[in-house]
């Protein structure tokens, strides 16, 4: 199977800092992989995902997506294909439906098929949001509901690779279990490629992830 994402010799330090967060970091992701990146707080897990979708720029090394250096791909095109869901889900001050259809208001996604209201209702049910109406305000949802909505919204633009940044860190046990179930079904049933970073001890039930530990400024595969 061909590599979807190749990270080679990546180095990164924050602005104004001389100490490297990553040094000669390598990672290969193939289509359909379910990658789990673990590591202590502050080890740079979120930064790794942000570098893959160019929300931060590395000091050295290269990141190839589908064989092309990500710096040669127009940023909007890259981020439409490599979708990043932040740790704290962000919503615009509008209805659930308007939030879900937000990607389709951007030029890069205009040609993609917009789901209708009924289709959105069906999707909401799949994402354990059956009690949420498309017309209600997204700002009034709980953090767990917003997190599921954010994942759902990212998937509506049909990305090739989904990057999930600590998707359960702010959630209670029940909400976290729902998000894990969604992540596993995305990979198992829909063959989506996922990279998820988490600092909690999570063992998927239905998929076999490739698990890395991010320590000492690089990734180390875990058995």
């Amino acid at each position: 199977m061909t590599s979807l994402l190749e990270i080679r010799n990546l180095s990164f330090a924050y602005d104004g800092s001389t100490s490297l967060v990553f040094d000669q970091l390598d990672l290969t992701v193939k289509e359909g992989d379910y990658i789990l990146v673990k590591g202590p707080s502050g080890s740079g897990k979120s930064t790794l995902l942000r570098l893959i979708c160019r929300l931060n720029q590395p000091q050295g090394g290269s990141i190839l997506f589908q064989g092309n250096d990500i710096t040669s791909i127009p940023p909007a095109k890259l981020r439409s294909a490599v979708s990043y869901v932040a740790q704290i889900p962000q919503m615009i001050d509008a209805s659930v439906e308007e939030n879900l259809l937000l990607p389709f208001s951007f030029a890069i996604n205009k040609a993609k098929t917009r789901p209708g209201t009924e289709e959105l209702r069906e999707l909401l049910r799949k994402y354990y949001l059956a009690d949420v109406s498309p017309s209600q305000s997204a700002m009034k949802l709980s953090i767990g509901q917003k997190q599921r909505l954010a994942i759902m919204r990212s998937l509506l633009q049909n990305p090739v690779l989904l990057l999930l940044d600590e998707p359960t860190s702010a959630l209670d046990h029940e909400s976290a279990a729902m998000v894990f179930s969604i992540m596993e079904s995305l990979n198992y049933e829909h063959c989506k490629t996922l990279i998820t970073v988490t600092h909690i001890d999570y063992k998927p039930e239905t998929v076999s992830p490739i698990t890395y530990n991010l320590v000492h400024r690089s990734l180390h595969i875990l058995p």
Partner: protein, 261 residues
């Protein structure tokens, strides 16, 4: 109409009684403004006398380069005032702001003196310098407000902008609301001034013309041109500066460069 009454130096000094009242108020109520009032009074006298002598000299000569030099000094001074108000270290906004101010204000002043008023030559200092001064002074405040708003909102809404970027938005789409708010914030004072002119206040230029003996019906025509000129120049300079500076808030990968303070 009667000839204009000159204000003698003695009469000018009598007007300092207003400053004395302000100083006493500051002293009694511990406002801490005594030093600023003193400096402001000295600067008012010094800067306006200097401007008066410069204008007297320029009005006697017929040198377009001299007129343009004075205009340039005014734009540079305005840029320094904006730099003093907008405390932004991360984003280099000075050069695009300065160049936009220079080009747009020059175009507006030429348009007004050359086409609307119809003066020949267009750089006739009696018209060109006051027109330029009003444009620069008004738009300077608008630009400072717009720039402050742009940087503040980009910082406060960084996560929201990044969320839109991650859903396929380009930097323009991701920051369109911030851009609109910044431009509007700068333009609102000029628009409000159009609402209140003639009802709430009589603008300085019109008052000056009337005091100098001009027919009020001529003075209002000049004032209408000025009000329209100020709104137009504020809109153009704010939009262009925000377009350039907003781009500078994003890196080569259209990532947000501003970090929270």
């Amino acid at each position: 109409m009667s000839a204009i009454i000159n204000i003698s130096t003695g009469q000018l000094l009598i007007a300092l009684v207003f400053i004395l009242i302000a100083q006493i108020s500051s002293f009694i109520y511990h406002l801490g403004l005594n030093r600023d009032i003193t400096v402001g009074t000295i600067r008012t006298f010094a800067q306006l006398f200097l401007m008066g002598y410069v204008l007297t000299y320029i009005l006697k000569t017929s040198n377009p380069w001299l007129v343009l030099s004075v205009f340039m000094v005014m734009v540079v001074s305005a840029m320094f005032i904006i730099k003093g108000r907008v405390k932004e270290k991360q984003i280099p906004y000075i050069i695009p702001t300065f160049l936009t101010m220079l080009v747009s204000y020059l175009a507006t002043a030429i348009f007004v003196s050359g086409l609307v008023v119809g003066i020949t030559p267009w750089w006739e200092p009696r018209y060109f310098i006051p027109a330029g001064g009003m444009v620069i002074g008004n738009s300077m405040s608008a630009l400072a407000i717009s720039l402050e708003r742009l940087f503040r909102d980009m910082r406060q809404q960084k996560e929201l902008v990044e969320m839109k970027l991650c859903l396929g938005a380009d930097y323009r789409e991701a920051s369109i609301d911030i851009f609109r708010n910044a431009v509007s914030a700068g333009m609102i004072p000029s628009i409000n001034a159009m609402m209140g002119v003639g009802l709430v206040f009589i603008p300085g230029m019109m008052s000056g013309q009337i005091l100098a003996g001009t027919d009020p019906l001529i003075a209002i025509r000049y004032q209408i041109v000025v009000m329209l000129m100020l709104v137009g120049s504020t809109a153009v300079s704010s939009v262009v500066v925000m377009l350039f500076v907003r781009r500078r808030c994003f890196g080569s990968g259209e990532e947000v460069l501003l970090s929270p303070r």
